[in-house]
């Protein structure tokens, strides 16, 4: 191990090519991971912010807030289920928004107005007064400020921004959080085909005491199948595009990791061929195959860590350089750690290509006596 690390220190030039290629792959991994996390954050923030365990859709909604509708009868049935602690209505409508000081602008802000009762993280327990909303902080990048009025939808229903909340994007749109009353009135004005009565909401969020999955089943039984109840995590996964984005990006990330594995594998296979005489000598004077292969692995891990460090640095620099709201890119510690682990794993697996060759080196070859 010490021998291998000394070689890295004394002959860094030998490892520059492999390190450079791995660094490019590390940057690609970090970038893809950052994009995935950014896209998912922009799509799922409104659900992740919920301080609830379950979301109850109508059974015909196919697990979509847009198609769901819950009336007071169903709500009462849900509230009566043992284990249900609190129930809040939730509604949403996706509308383009214009800033009131530029009403003729053709540049619409993509927004989703959400009405709530049970306050999600970062929002006041009592929803803002009718006609006012708390906006997702990504709208600041579009010049929206507290006190501004946004004109929503084709009818240009005005709502006043009275505050901001972080990380509550919904389906790639900036959220506007208001009372159920505000949501119903804006929806009625701009989506006359989808009006809600005063006792109706799009869905319910439910806080439970105990096993959330069991309560979810109980809720659907209590409503005679009128509802489809999901845990928050299931609901996030069911959001349009989320599973598809995750799957697509994970496949690209997986292929990138495989390429890293092949790069490390080929590089160290070549280096091992080159080192065969030296390994013969080292085996002859008492080096075991495990010690020598351990050195190869140590070098591969060291290279992967250097590449990961550079990739993570580039990723953080990119995150800092991207103006807010322009690119869905997000760097998270867990993603960085996952990518580093993935690269290190790929490097170790890549070394396996060299294992057979190291094992087969005959120490007798050191003095020309190999059979």
């Amino acid at each position: 191990m010490k021998l291998a690390l000394r070689e890295l220190r004394r002959r860094p030039g030998r490892f520059v090519t492999a390190t450079a290629v791995l660094t490019v792959l590390a940057i690609l991994l970090m970038f893809l991971g950052g994009l995935l996390d950014g896209l998912l954050a922009g799509s799922t923030g409104a659900y992740r912010a919920q301080r609830a365990d379950l979301i109850v859709y109508s059974s015909t909604a196919r697990e979509s807030l847009v198609r769901s509708r819950i009336d007071s009868t169903v709500r009462a049935a849900v509230e009566a289920v043992p284990g249900v602690e609190a129930v809040g209505g939730l509604g949403s409508v996706q509308l383009g928004a214009r800033q009131a000081d530029d009403p003729t602008s053709r540049d619409l802000l993509s927004t989703a107005l959400l009405g709530y009762e049970l306050a999600p993280r970062g929002l006041p327990a009592t929803p803002p007064a009718a006609g006012t909303v708390i906006a997702d902080s990504t709208l600041k990048a579009d010049g929206v400020a507290v006190g501004d009025t946004l004109l929503l939808g084709p009818v240009r229903t005005p709502v006043e921004v009275v505050g901001f909340v972080d990380d509550t994007g919904y389906s790639g749109q900036a959220s506007l959080w208001g009372s159920l009353e505000t949501w119903r009135s804006v929806t009625a004005a701009n989506r006359p085909d989808r009006t809600f009565a005063d006792d109706s909401v799009a869905a319910l969020v439910v806080q439970v005491d105990g096993d959330a999955a069991a309560v979810a089943d109980a809720v659907d039984r209590a409503t005679d199948g009128a509802t489809a109840t999901l845990t928050i995590d299931e609901a996030i996964e069911a959001l349009p595009g989320v599973a598809q984005q995750r799957s697509t990006f994970n496949q690209i990330i997986g292929v990138t990791a495989v390429i890293a594995l092949v790069v490390v594998g080929l590089f160290f296979a070549l280096i091992t061929v080159e080192r065969t005489p030296l390994y013969g000598i080292l085996k002859a004077i008492g080096g075991s195959s495990a010690t020598l292969f351990g050195g190869v692995v140590a070098q591969a891990v060291a290279i992967a860590l250097v590449a990961s460090f550079l990739g993570a640095g580039a990723s953080l620099a990119l995150d800092a350089a991207i103006p807010p709201g322009t690119l869905p890119f997000q760097v998270t510690p867990s993603r960085l750690v996952t990518n580093v682990a993935l690269l290190v794993l790929a490097a170790v697996a890549g070394c396996a290509f060299s294992l057979r060759r190291v094992l087969r080196i005959d120490p007798a070859a050191a003095i020309g006596a190999a059979s």
């Binding site: 191990m1 021998l3 005489p277 004077i285 008492g286 007798a364 050191a366 003095i367 006596a369």
Partner: protein
Amino acid sequence: MTATPTSTSTSTEPAVNQPDPANPSAPPALRMVDVRKVYGSGDGEVVALDHAELEVARDEIVALVGPSGSGKTTLCSIAGGLLHATDGAVEVDGRDITHLSPSELTDFRRSSVGFVFQTVNLVPFLTARENLLVVNELGGRRNRNGSRARARADQLLEELGLADRAGNLPSQLSGGQRQRVAIGRALMNDPALVLFDEPTSALDSKLGDQVVHLIREEMKARGTSAIIVTHDDRITHYADRTVHIEDGRIQA
């Protein structure tokens, strides 16, 4: 440089030497009894070593001479635990290594024998001192006597006249200095037996003479036994005994 042999070598001496007179009960550095080494099988069978008998006493230097393909390298490899004998028994410093497993042989080589190879083969990115210490480092966790190893490396470099070159890489050393570092590496584990594989073949006449002189001095100073595989007649003058081998058979 003048040769300083301590005894005349002949090609007709018996292959079995006398025990160490200073310690008659001590086992010989090497004892090979009826050793055969066969490669392949059936029609393709090649007998590299045929019923070889050899004993090397403590403090004895043996020159092993023979034409190419005569089996001297095979004999040396079996004596050093690099190869298993097909038949027969091999003892080094009283330890029977005939049936050791590959990992036991690895430990044995690291702890009980020294090798000096034909082309020196120092680790190119290690300094002279580190090339000596590599023997200790290859032992991994089993060899954690680092300070003792460092002290021994420094002592050997001093004795080999390389104290001022301890921090130099092999590329910064002359051929003779590199060969001295290789000798130091072979002596790091304080072996009972050191095996030299044609140590002068890559050196010019004058340098070769110096190196062999140094080998004799170092071996005798430590009471270490040595087998020197060679084609070079000059070496036989420095050996206590010359053993000839031909077609895998040690000549009596």
